[in-house]
């Protein structure tokens, strides 16, 4: 499993060559309109306001998600938000007012509360704190106003373009003389938004089925001008200025829909809750790996990973997990990439300074300023992650079975020179960053331009920062229950990327296990009991314990009343097995108990086979050997049970989950092995944008 880091992430849509390719395809394929699209100006303003608010969602003060594992492979989510309408500024509020007289005299607003992938087309019912259903804007209407918004935005961009008054330019032609081309672009945008374009798919148009159309007088000139105008409006050169933002906006509009609720203004603070569409697991580990987990005494854990996106502006985010009472949540850990953008910008700064160290060196003070800027940010990262680590250590200490420092390397005390040397070698582990933070705060890093840092060492630091994933924080479980978990993420008091509105990605790691009183304990007792029964019967029949170790066979080992022995051997395991509450195989508990169930079945199979043997075999010698074999198998099963206990002990003592979604710095700080293990289920609740 790969973890994509923002900034170096793969293209959002690998099948599309350019950012506006879908739009271009539709411009070529759609019939040329002969009249303009008519959208009421109110719709355009509403669409723009909804788009703006839904991308930021800064009127949501708090977001809570409650996850329930329905069975293995499906997760249900209940989402609740605290909405504060006072945070929506006046002008947007005027635009969002629902037209028409409200029945109770209070005007109400259309308020976006979430964005969803267009793939999840399950019905959503929003309820408020009193349980009343809140009216929603239909998807069709939301799409219509979004289309109107894009048409308006296009119009505004054309009007503000510097070529709009240059008569020969395509922009001027689009605006004044060749309006059909503009209408075509508008129609293409509308079509794209109304129909949508799911991620990773090429648009399928009628043109795919037709030969080359070359008839004279066709609409080619209109289409060509539309494409030319699009190119002039969104030049590929310097595309990150306008082309990429516009294309990304269009992409979000075509892949997601906005969940819009109608809320009355008289109660500006509202609590809303709804059930999100059921989430299917994204991918599973290979069958061989699953088989190994199920067939070996490794005390199987069921590992679930969950990923979602939350608006950057929410102040608090709660993630709660509920499982059946029989299941324990052994580990619950949440990690967000809230500082990832900051780290990426820092790494890019480091690389740029490294490449320009010689040139900057001419202006010594400029280099010093850059180095100090970099140092202050490194120090802040060290401080933050140290706070996270302290929180994590506290979590380990308050676990039902506390985890000590274990194999974690003892803390080093580094001098300023050692810190610089370690950083230059690309070591961005937490103790180095923390030591750097301490030296920086104590004014020990005042002349960095003269130190050995500027140059290739900066490249190593950038690589080290990215590898250590220091942009990710860690939040731990604080739920006292064993069969539930809760993590409370708070927005940092100082936002390190203050201008960013990029949603924060949140990863949650949950290890579910069968903790004491666990099934394996019952099964061990049962198998041990069966072994004792076999031992007891054998000893009674042989008249002593010699049959266990001596080759001598007792002459009257075959019982006179074989029926009674058979009855005991069939009834006792049957009764014991019936008392075990074995779950269905589809459930998570079933997965956890798969191996234990196998052990129980095997032990019963052994006693049953022995019973059959007693009923049929007449030879003392064979009977003795069968008893010996049965006892050996039962003891082997008991040993397997003990292995399970040992494996459970190892699992409980593990300090950091071996997951690729747990930040690297945390794994390094606790000396965890580098190899990661794939989860049993992975749920992705991101909007698909």
């Amino acid at each position: 499993m790969t973890v994509t880091i923002r900034g170096s992430s793969p293209p959002a849509d690998p099948s599309a060559g350019g950012p506006l390719d879908h739009l271009r395809t539709l411009i070529v394929a759609l019939p040329v309109p002969t009249a303009p699209m008519t959208f009421p100006s109110r719709d355009a303003a509403l669409g723009l306001a909804l788009m703006d608010l839904s991308l930021r969602l800064d009127h949501l003060a708090r977001l809570s998600e409650q996850l329930t594992l329905v069975d293995r492979g499906h997760m249900s989510r209940s989402i609740s938000v605290d909405v504060d309408l006072d945070l929506i500024s006046g002008r947007l509020r005027d635009t969002l007012i629902v037209p028409g007289e409200a029945p109770d005299g209070h005007p109400s607003l259309w308020v976006p509360v979430s964005r969803y992938s267009r793939r999840d087309l399950a019905p959503v019912v929003i309820k408020d704190s009193s349980g009343e259903v809140v009216p929603r804007l239909s998807h069709r209407d939301a799409n219509r106003v979004t289309a109107a918004a894009f048409v308006k935005l296009l119009h505004m961009l054309i009007n503000a373009h510097e070529d709009v008054s240059a008569p020969a330019s395509p922009i001027h032609q689009l605006r004044h003389t060749h309006q059909r081309s503009r209408w075509l672009i508008e129609a293409a945008i509308t079509e794209l938004i109304m129909v949508g374009s799911p991620a990773g798919q090429r648009l399928h148009t009628p043109l795919d089925h037709a030969g080359l159309l070359t008839r004279q007088g066709n609409s080619r000139a209109v289409r060509d001008l539309a494409l030319l105008g699009l190119e002039a409006l969104f030049p590929a050169e310097g595309g990150d200025r306008l082309l990429i933002p516009f294309a990304r906006l269009l992409q979000l509009a075509t892949r997601q829909y906005i969940l819009v609720a109608q809320l009355a203004l008289n109660r500006p603070r509202r609590f809303l809750t709804w059930d999100a569409p059921l989430l299917p697991a994204q991918h599973r580990p290979t069958p061989l790996r699953t088989l190994a987990k199920n067939a070996l005494p490794v005390n199987r854990e069921f590992v679930v990973e969950y990923e979602t996106e939350i608006p950057r502006s929410v102040k608090a985010y709660h993630l709660t997990l509920e499982v059946r009472q029989e299941i324990s949540v052994r580990r619950f850990l949440m990690s967000s990439d809230v500082d990832e953008e900051f780290v990426e910008v820092l790494a890019q700064d480091l690389e740029s300074v490294a490449r320009r160290a010689d040139r900057l060196g001419t202006y010594h003070k400029l280099l010093e300023l850059e180095m100090q800027g970099i140092a202050s940010r490194l120090a802040e990262l060290g401080r933050r992650r140290l706070v996270d680590l302290a929180g994590y250590e506290a979590y380990l200490a308050r676990l039902p079975i506390p985890v000590g420092p274990g194999s974690a390397p003892p803390a080093r005390r580094l001098s300023a020179d050692e810190v610089i040397a370690a950083l230059s070698a690309g070591d961005c582990s937490l103790d180095v960053l923390a030591a750097f933070c301490a030296h920086y705060a104590a004014d020990g890093m005042q002349h960095l331009a003269r130190s050995g840092l500027p140059g290739p060492a900066l490249l190593s630091i950038a690589a080290g920062l990215r590898a250590a994933q220091v942009g990710r924080d860690v939040t731990t479980d604080n739920d006292p229950r064993e069969h539930g978990a809760h993590a409370h993420w708070r927005r940092p008091s100082v936002e390190l990327s203050p201008q960013s509105t990029e949603p924060v990605r949140v990863f949650a790691f949950m290890a579910l296990a069968d903790e004491a009183p666990a099934l394996i304990e019952n099964i061990t007792r049962m198998v041990a009991g069966l072994a004792l029964v076999v031992l007891g019967i054998g000893t009674f029949l042989a008249g002593g314990l010699e049959w266990l170790y001596s080759a001598k066979v007792s002459p009257d080992f075959v019982p006179e009343q074989a029926d009674a022995v058979v009855a005991v051997l069939l009834l006792v395991p049957g009764l014991l097995l019936a008392r075990l509450d074995l779950p269905g195989t589809k459930s998570v508990l079933g997965q956890l108990h798969k191996f234990q169930r196998m052990l129980a079945t095997a032990s019963v199979a052994v006693t049953t086979a022995l019973a059959i043997a007693i009923a049929t075999v007449q030879s003392d010698r064979e009977m003795t050997r069968l008893f010996q074999v049965a006892l050996a198998v039962l003891i082997f099963i008991v040993v397997l049970c003990l292995c399970e206990f040992y494996a459970r002990r190892i699992h409980r003592g593990s300090s950091v989950p071996r997951s690729s979604r747990v930040p690297r710095w945390l794994r390094d700080a606790r000396g965890a092995p580098g190899r990661t293990v794939e989860p049993d289920d992975f749920f992705d609740a991101r909007g698909g944008g």
Binding site: T4, R6, G7, S9, P11, A12, D13, G18, P19, S41, R42, A44, A45, A49, M51, D52, L53, L55, R56, D58, G90, R91, L92, D94, A149, K152, H155, M156, L157, N159, A160, E162, S165, G238, G239, D240, R241, L242, I244, P245, F246, R248, L249, L252, Q348, E351, V353, R356, R359, Y363, K365, L366, L369, E370, Q372, S376, L496, T501, E502, P503
Partner: protein, 506 residues
């Protein structure tokens, strides 16, 4: 080309468009006032309609230098039918015979995305004496502005604001305390220029190249260069010195480049306001066209409000230029010959330059007006008389549609009155921010009522005056604008870095 996963700029584009596209309109209306005197005129009616959006400007900017001032107010317009991207007309104003007002409409540019950019602020020192620029220095200043904004324009980085003259920053010696409590007081104004550009944080190479070339320019021309302290947790008003002012090299460069320019101080000036949709590279194009025609820049205030750029320049009028320059508005190309006439006859004027960016921008020109230069100390500290103008910075945040910025500034001046002999607004800027609040920053130039030569005593007096005035304003404001006292945030301080970070220009 691949799409980056980041949607910050997209959401900003959506926000700009959502704010620009009101229910029925998507243009902005603005008023401009050129005049004497440092106090801005009120722009709203005495008893405004609180619900009428067009009664309350959302953004306001005031700038005063050389005894002349420009005020700009802007708000979303209820009208959208006009030809071209900008229109501007003079209006009759009853405020006084020497006040010239204009009103106009403009199409804002939603593609001017810079909220997500990293702001790089630069303080340029063009002299270490008091501020009284000659024609030659005005030309030199125009050249420096052109070069600086050209550096930004080449990289597509927008100029977020540019102001000259501004308060110089005294050198802080190492022994002084980091919180600035022992820092020497700043001069109110000096031959300095302050400007900021926005650079995408992901394009650090662009920023580094810009900074390096800036340092190279500073070395070539000898001007002093300070950059805003980019360390984390450093606030606005904290500077990192890259190069000190090299007086000799600056003088040589000035004499070499403009050997024939007059070394007299201009007595008259015109205020030119050049208005159009915001776009990177426009400031450089404007100043370049002017300088090629031998027109220097005495003072400048450039800022973008609601995605519309206002380039306000105070241009010196040559001593031998004809007397009458009436108030005028028109297109950029028509304005150039008039401005050339102001600069006086000059041989070998450059040919018509190709400035596609600002070709359809509009210009408002004031008549030639008298300049006056305020007394100022040579360097911070007490002079022989102790009559030194000091700066006081003001930061505020008020709910929108309660107290408009000119009224607030008048209150601040009144509140400082008991402590000061003179109190003027050097610049002020406010804008409507998220959550329906207006945030602003201003710099006031005060001359204390009590004359003191002792630095520590002056410092104490200034701090006391600021604190007393702050209390007084907080008491007055609720009555003035019927504003909830808990929603008023206001801070007056003789040190810029003690203000809260306001995130707006100048």
């Amino acid at each position: 080309m691949t799409l980056p996963a980041n949607s910050t700029k997209s959401s900003e584009l959506a926000r700009i468009a959502a704010e620009a596209a009101g229910t029925y309109f998507s243009s902005v209306e603005f008023t401009l006032t050129h005049g004497y005197g440092p106090s801005p005129l009120p722009v709203i009616e005495p008893d405004p309609d609180k619900e009428d959006p067009s009664a309350w400007p959302t953004d306001f900017c005031h700038f005063a230098a050389a005894g002349l001032s420009v005020s700009t107010s802007i708000w979303p317009s209820a009208m959208s039918a006009f030809s071209g991207r900008v229109q501007i007309d003079p209006v009759k104003h009853d405020a006084g015979p020497e006040t010239y007002s204009y009103s106009g409409h403009a199409v804002p540019n939603p593609g001017f995305i810079h909220q997500s950019t990293r702001q790089v602020e630069v303080l340029i020192t063009l002299g270490n004496t008091h501020w009284s620029p000659t024609y030659r220095e005005a030309l030199m200043q125009a050249l420096v502005i052109e070069k600086l904004t050209g550096l930004a324009g080449e990289r597509g980085a927008p100029v977020l604001h540019l102001h000259t003259p501004v308060a110089p920053v005294p050198q802080i010696s190492r022994s002084e305390r980091g919180d600035g409590s022992n820092e020497r007081l700043r001069d109110a104004i000096g031959p300095c220029l302050r400007f900021s550009i926005g650079v995408d944080p992901k394009m650090s190479e662009t920023r580094l190249d810009f900074e390096t070339e800036l340092a190279a320019l500073a070395e070539e021309y000898g001007f002093g260069l300070k950059l805003d302290d980019q360390r984390l947790n450093r606030v606005r008003g904290e500077w990192f010195t890259i190069r000190g002012f090299d007086r000799e090299r600056y003088r040589q460069a000035r004499n070499r480049l403009f050997p024939e320019a007059s070394v007299h101080i201009p007595k008259r000036a015109v205020i030119a306001s050049i208005v159009g949709p915001s776009q990177p590279g426009t400031t450089a194009a404007t100043v370049q066209a002017l300088r090629e025609r031998g027109i220097g820049v005495l003072a400048a205030s450039i800022s973008s409000m609601r995605k519309t750029t206002f380039i306000n320049l105070v241009l010196p009028v040559a001593a031998d230029a004809p007397e009458s320059f009436p108030q005028w508005t028109g297109g950029w190309h028509d304005a150039l010959p008039r401005l050339e006439a102001c600069a006086g006859p000059r041989p070998g004027v450059a040919a018509e330059s190709e400035d596609r960016l600002i070709g359809d921008w509009k210009v408002a020109l004031s008549p030639a007006m008298r300049c006056s230069y305020p007394p100022s100390s040579q360097q911070t500290g007490a002079t022989a008389t102790g009559r030194v103008p000091y700066p006081i910075w003001l930061w505020w945040q008020l709910p929108h549609r309660t107290v408009d910025t000119p009224a607030l500034l008048a209150e601040v001046q009144a509140a400082l009155q008991p402590h000061t002999r003179r109190c003027e607004v050097a610049y002020a800027q406010s804008r409507l921010c998220r959550g329906d609040v207006v945030r602003g920053r201003a710099k006031l130039v005060v001359m204390l009522a009590q004359e003191h030569k002792d630095h520590a005593a002056v410092q104490r007096l200034l701090t006391d005056a600021a604190e007393a005035a702050q209390l007084r304003i907080r008491e007055w404001l609720p009555a003035l604008g019927r504003v909830d006292p808990s929603k008023i945030r206001l801070r007056l301080s003789p040190r810029e870095r003690w203000l809260m970070y306001a995130g707006i220009s100048a």
